[in-house]
Every structure is written in structure tokens, then in C-alpha cells.
Amino acid sequence: MAIVLEKLCKAYGNHGVLTDFSAVVPEGKVTAIMAPSGQGKTTLLRILMGLETPDSGKISGLSGKKFSAVFQENRLCDNLSPVSNIRLVAPEQKRSQIIAAMEGVLLADCFHQPVRELSGGMRRRVAILRALLADYDILFLDEPFKGLDDKTRQVVIRDAKLRSTGKTVFLITHDPWEAQIMEACQILTLR
């Protein structure tokens, strides 16, 4: 079932962020959201994730769905290891499965270190992997590959595509290449 957004409006004080925004998002496909900074991309994602309510408008097709997300910030539990951070949201995943998924994306030395001791790039990769290994129907990606070097970005983005195939994905990005590699079926532009 498609997700239908009808005339969504959201304002902070006098500043309108979303004005009568409507879209139809097909199920099981990637939808990219592209717009200059400050145009309401993150606000739209926060509304879809249920973290904010629109001032007006209607959303259908989200009820009963399981969500997963990569936020702009990593939002990891600093004192837990990458494995534990992933198991926190994906308890059904076996430790061995998580470690297998981390190989090639993270250095083996980091698997059991508290994430606060990892570099920014490593932490980002843990946040992405956590979202991909969770049990979800809809995946929200808010500039997930930002801050990764080119080589890592290529590895991580292909891994993300592979692991999210057949799932509904919202991808906020400034880079058309990312939308292309993720095989976005449509690009929503906010005005």
C-alpha cells in the first residue's frame, strides 16, 4: 500500500516549513527527497516518523508499519559496543549475524569497543548498519552518508542498497549520485 501525503503544513512560529505538501510514495521503493537546506526535508521525515505532528494535512499508509532510521546525528548509546547498539534495536539478530554484517564495513578491532571510543566515520557506519539490521518496513535515511570518505561511501551505500531491497525507503540527500545508486524511483523536491 502506497504512503499518501496530503496537503501537509508545518510552521515554527511565523516561519512556514512545509506548505500544502502532497506526494504519493510507492511501497517497497526508494524515494529520494532533495532540496536546499532549510526547506523542511528533516521536518518532513520527522513528521513521517511520528516525532512531530503536522499543523494540518493527512498521512495514510503508515499505521502498523515498523520503522528504522539513520538520523542526521548518529544517536548511538556511547557506552555500548557497536554489536550491543545494533542488538538494542534488533534483538532478534544473533551476535554472529551482526558480526558477519559488520565485517567489511567496520574494523574488527572496533566490534566490542564502546562506540564513544570510535572515530566519527566508524560511528556513522554503526548507525547505518543498526538501521539496516533492524526489523523494519520503512527506512528513513536523513543524509546518511554525509561525512564518509568517498571509498567508504561507495561500500556503505551499496551495502545499504542491498540490505534495503524491497523495503520502502525515504532518502534525504544533496547528491543525485546517491539517489541513483539507491535506485530511487522518484525524487521529491520541497519548495
Binding site: F67, E73, C77, N79
Partner: protein
């Protein structure tokens, strides 16, 4: 070592043990006290009551902080009470409480009363500064309440709780012993201090003070170690 030497020299210079007893005399008195049953009985008496007061304060302080964080009205109700407890001299509470509570259990109540506001304020501060970003993450991933409390709230509140324990452990001994000195329950450390004062027995006064400091330090180390073990267990995934 330097301060022990200063103490010894000061005592020798004064030449009157009643004014300033020497560390050697204190150690001699302590070694003779250690061999008596009432010595251990007094430590057991005070330790049991003061620890109970501390544990009750830790439990109720944490519970009330959780309720205050959840219900603003409850916090408004408690704030003046907490401020009043913090501002009132402990001696006033001890004298007042002696009217209501048997002196044997006075130290439980006084330790509780002194530690409760510290626990409450610190834990409430911890809850209020819990990362909103992590709570949103928990909401999006639909983490069950138990996992959210265990892995997000507890780890964020823990530094505040630990610091409250460190302050509270010192406070509970100071206030608990003060309550015993005023209430003079039979067989308590406070009673021994009181007797030392009455009979101007300075070696006893110093020896018991040393005992209080040591028991308090050991108790603090034990509680913090138990706390760290519990945290390691809780953070296991």
C-alpha cells in the same frame, strides 16, 4: 605521613593529652578497643542503622525523582519540602525527631532525611538531561519501555546517581553519628563518642572518630563497587 608527624609534634609540644592526644596514644587505645566485643557491637549497631537510612533514601529519592520527572505537579509539591530539608540544620531535625522516634532508630531517620534530597535532586537532574535524541531514536525503533529504561535512562542517569551516592555516603555518616550523639542510644558509636566527651577521654574520642572515618570509607567503597557491578550487568547485551 607528614600530617601524622605534625600531629605527633603538636601533641608533644602541648604536652597535655587531654587537649591533643598523640597518634601513638590513639593507635594504642584503638588496638585495645578492637579486642573487645562491645567495640564490634557498636560498629554493627551504627552501620546497620545508617546503611538502612542511606538505602531507603537512595530508593525513595530515585522513585520520587522519577515521579517528579513524569508529573510536573508532583515536582511542584516536593520542591518546597526539599528546600526546607536542605536549609534546616540537622540538629533541629534530630531534636524534633527525638520526640517522635525512639533514639535507637533515630539515626535511620536522620541519615534518610539528609541523603534523600541529594538523591532526589541529582537523579531528577539526570532524568531531565537524558538525551532527547536517544529517546526519539527509541521511539522510532519502537524499543520496549524496559529496554529504553535499561539502556538509555539508566546509563544517562548513572553518573548523577553515582555522584549522589558519593555525597550521600559521607552525609549519612556525619548526620547519623550526630543523631546518635544527641539521642545516645545504648551500644552505638554515638554513645561512645558522647561518653568520651563527658569523661574528657580524648584518646577514645579520636579512636572512635578514626573508626567512623574508616567504616564510612569502607562502606562508600563497597556501595560504589556494588553499583559498578550492577551497571556492568545492566549494560550487558
Amino acid at each position: 605521613m607528614l600530617w601524622l608527624l605534625v600531629w605527633q609534634l603538636g601533641s608533644q609540644a602541648l604536652g597535655q593529652e587531654i587537649l591533643l592526644v598523640s597518634p601513638v596514644s590513639v593507635l594504642v587505645r584503638l588496638s585495645s578497643l578492637i579486642r573487645t566485643f562491645p567495640f564490634w557491637e557498636s560498629i554493627g549497631f551504627s552501620l546497620a542503622r545508617i546503611s538502612l537510612g542511606f538505602l531507603l533514601a537512595a530508593f525513595w529519592g530515585t522513585l520520587f525523582a522519577a515521579l517528579a520527572a513524569r508529573f510536573a505537579g508532583f515536582q511542584d509539591l516536593l520542591t518546597p519540602l526539599i528546600l526546607a530539608i536542605k536549609a534546616t540544620p540537622v540538629a533541629s531535625f534530630i531534636i524534633l525527631a527525638l520526640i517522635w522516634i525512639p533514639s535507637r532508630n533515630l539515626s535511620v531517620f536522620i541519615s534518610f532525611l539528609m541523603v534523600f534530597p541529594v538523591m532526589y535532586s541529582n537523579v531528577l537532574g539526570g532524568i531531565q538531561t537524558t538525551s532527547r535524541e536517544l529517546l526519539e531514536m527509541a521511539q522510532v525503533f519502537a524499543l520496549p519501555a524496559g529496554r529504553t529504561i535499561r539502556y538509555i535512562y539508566i546509563s544517562q542517569i548513572l553518573p548523577f546517581f553515582r555522584s549522589a551516592c558519593t555525597i550521600g555516603l559521607g552525609l549519612c555518616w556525619k548526620s547519623g553519628i550526630a543523631a546518635e550523639v544527641i539521642g545516645i542510644p545504648d551500644g552505638s558509636i554515638g554513645e561512645k563518642l558522647y561518653n568520651a566527651k563527658i569523661f574528657l577521654n580524648t584518646p577514645d574520642l579520636f579512636a572512635w572518630t578514626l573508626v567512623i572515618v574508616m567504616v564510612s570509607l569502607c562502606f562508600e567503597k563497597l556501595v560504589l563497587r556494588i553499583l559498578d557491578t550492577c551497571v556492568r550487568y545492566l549494560e550487558r547485551m
